[in-house]
């Protein structure tokens, strides 16, 4: 592949920003030390970590002590969900989740169900908005935790955490609200003081930071038990070795995302609008999956190309060094169509032809135009081969 790579899959992972690598490099080489007291090298690292924690806390309007660095989004999800449920199990063993949650969150709950916890999974409408009437009905006297995905990774739907909080507050006891914010952080503003969220998880490699890094926010006063045990150097919830270069890289990626946050969001919106407008202008028979542009995540688009299959589209684009994701059963490990598309009322065929495009700071206008050119060519060629839709075209 000779042409410049176009990568439209930040929901999966993203390129490490060179500035982030530069920031990390000293801590991978000369400054390999651990935090400590009194010594010059120990205190230097301790201050670096404190600074990183402050940078992240500020981006969420949280307090530095409410931030824990983890080894990824899944790690943060596990620590928060298991920790809150385990710490409160005398009060109850019931949680509320949704049928369109991220698989990494669903997996935690499936594990907990085997340990005697009980869940209610509320549904979502065609655009991916949670059915709040179902949420209301799901609350029980023994409900401890509600956990939802802040921005759905397949549909780009933004859930209103305040509306969820209002419903949870109608219960006569405290129900914690956990948000998987892996897709929302750096894409929409999050203010933990005003959002009604008690705990959230963040994945750093989705916004041009290092892989293997996550951020866990736990509001002060939340009753949470540790789920991992070892030497507590920094955080009681995350004992063990400290990934100093990862923490430094995380802070740099956060700093970059928030130093020009509004400008970045506007840029995402422009690129997303351009991508969608060009697709519908140039390619017939498409379906937008998820809420309309302007209402959905600014860095996310999901379109079904009717009469053709997503893995074939994805591979054709791959030949042109353009990288996207599909909800097609053909490209899944167990040959099943994407459960989120199916759980929001789509047909197999609609899921089959779906292609997801997600943005990060490196995506350019040129990338978008190149992608639409390739999509137009691909759709035409695959539709020539397809037995479907001939009468309608």
């Amino acid at each position: 592949m000779s042409s410049k790579e176009v990568y439209l899959d930040s929901c999966k992972t993203s390129r490490l920003a060179p500035e982030v690598l530069d920031a990390m490099m000293p801590y991978l080489t000369d400054k390999y030390w651990y935090p400590g007291s009194f010594t010059s090298i120990g205190t230097e690292i301790a201050e670096v970590i404190e600074n990183a924690q402050e940078i992240v806390a500020k981006s969420l309007n949280a307090k530095p002590e409410e931030i824990t660095f983890t080894s990824g989004g899944t790690d943060a999800n596990n620590i928060a969900i298991q920790g809150i449920l385990q710490a409160n199990k005398e009060k109850g063993r019931h949680f509320i989740c949704s049928t369109i949650s991220h698989p990494s969150v669903l997996a935690v709950f499936q594990g907990l169900e085997k340990q005697g916890f009980e869940g209610t999974y509320i549904s979502a409408n065609r655009d991916g908005y949670l059915n709040l009437e179902e949420l209301k009905a799901a609350i029980r006297p023994d409900t401890i935790l509600a956990a939802f995905t802040h921005i759905n990774h397949i549909l780009g739907t933004i859930q209103d955490s305040n509306a969820i909080r209002d419903i949870l507050d109608q219960a006569d006891h405290k129900i914690y609200l956990f948000m998987d914010s892996c897709e929302s952080y750096t894409k929409i503003p999050i203010n933990v003081e005003e959002s009604g969220i008690d705990s959230l998880s963040i994945s750093v490699h989705k916004f041009n930071g290092p892989k293997g890094m996550g951020i866990l926010y736990v509001k002060n006063g939340t009753k949470i038990a540790p789920t991992q045990f070892g030497i507590v150097r920094l955080y009681k919830l995350k004992p063990g070795a400290i990934n100093v270069p990862g923490i430094v890289g995380t802070a740099k990626a956060v700093e970059m995302a928030f130093s020009d946050f509004d400008k970045q969001i506007e840029r995402y919106r422009d690129l997303q609008t351009l991508l969608y407008d060009e697709i519908i202008k140039r390619i017939p028979d498409t379906i937008l999956n998820g809420p309309p542009i302007g209402e959905r995540s600014p860095a996310h688009l999901n379109v079904t190309f009717r009469f053709i299959e997503g893995e074939a589209i994805m591979m054709m684009l791959d030949f042109d060094n353009i990288h996207v994701e599909t909800g097609s059963a053909c490209s899944s490990q167990n040959l099943q169509p994407n459960y989120i598309l199916m759980n929001t009322g789509r047909t197999h065929e609609e899921s089959h032809g779906s292609v997801r495009f997600t943005l990060d700071r490196f995506v350019t206008t040129e990338d978008i135009l190149k992608t639409v050119d390739a999509l137009e060519k691909t759709a035409k060629e695959l539709r020539r081969r397809s037995p479907l839709g001939k009468k309608e075209q």
Partner: protein, 211 residues
């Protein structure tokens, strides 16, 4: 482990042979459905004297391996007598492509199935051969031999995952599979089995139990 396509699959996907339809085709057949993922239609032109396939075309709604297997199967059948074309196996088609990942083996089955069905259609139209749809255990098992377990890319009959098949007097079919309920391919297997059983219009219901 990296699951990837062979160079030949990629080549046939990029530049498939025999794509399209045949004007006034002598026979055709469609296998699969958009609801199950893949759909393939094969069109034939057959010399009635020699029974040689003189032209063959396909249309595919499917993934790269679906298109590539349709391309290779039509290449293999072109110029062959119907008898020889019928003998092309899905394993042979996969081998001709330099192999297929296990999870994609079902594409080869679909391609062979569509070719054989198109040949049956020709035989039905031109020789008056009846298309057999009798519900016998033998016929049902023959269809179930086309259900591929995606983990290893082999059919459920050869793998002995099909433990029992029974037909009661009301034509309800009971199938027992030796597959764990946590198996990631369970939904795929159920869909495939149900799809296969739909070929027998007289089957009243299909019940699949895991043993």
């Amino acid at each position: 482990m990296a699951i990837k396509y062979s160079e030949l699959v990629i080549e046939h996907f990029k530049n498939p042979h025999n794509v399209g339809t045949i004007d006034k085709a002598d026979a055709s057949a469609t296998e699969g459905s958009p609801a199950c993922g893949d759909q393939l239609t094969v069109y034939l032109k057959v010399n009635p004297e020699t029974q040689v396939i003189e032209d063959i075309k396909f249309q595919s709604y499917g993934c790269a391996s679906n298109i590539a297997t349709a391309s290779i199967i039509t290449d293999l059948a072109l110029g062959k007598t119907l008898e020889k074309a019928k003998a092309i196996s899905w394993k042979q088609a996969a081998d001709e492509l330099g192999g297929l990942p296990p999870v994609k083996m079902h594409c080869s089955v679909l391609a062979v199935d569509a070719l054989r069905s198109a040949i049956k259609d020709w035989e039905h139209k031109h020789l008056g051969t009846q298309i057999e749809q009798n519900i016998t255990k033998k016929n049902l098992v023959k269809e179930l031999q086309k259900v591929i377990y995606g983990k290893v890319g082999v059919d459920i009959v050869s793998l002995k995952l099909l433990k029992y098949i029974g037909i009661d007097e009301k034509k309800n079919v009971l199938i027992e599979l030796a597959v764990s309920k946590d198996d990631p391919f369970i939904e795929d297997l159920k869909n495939e089995i149900n799809e296969r059983m739909e070929k027998f219009p007289d089957v009243a219901s299909v019940k699949i139990s895991l043993v």
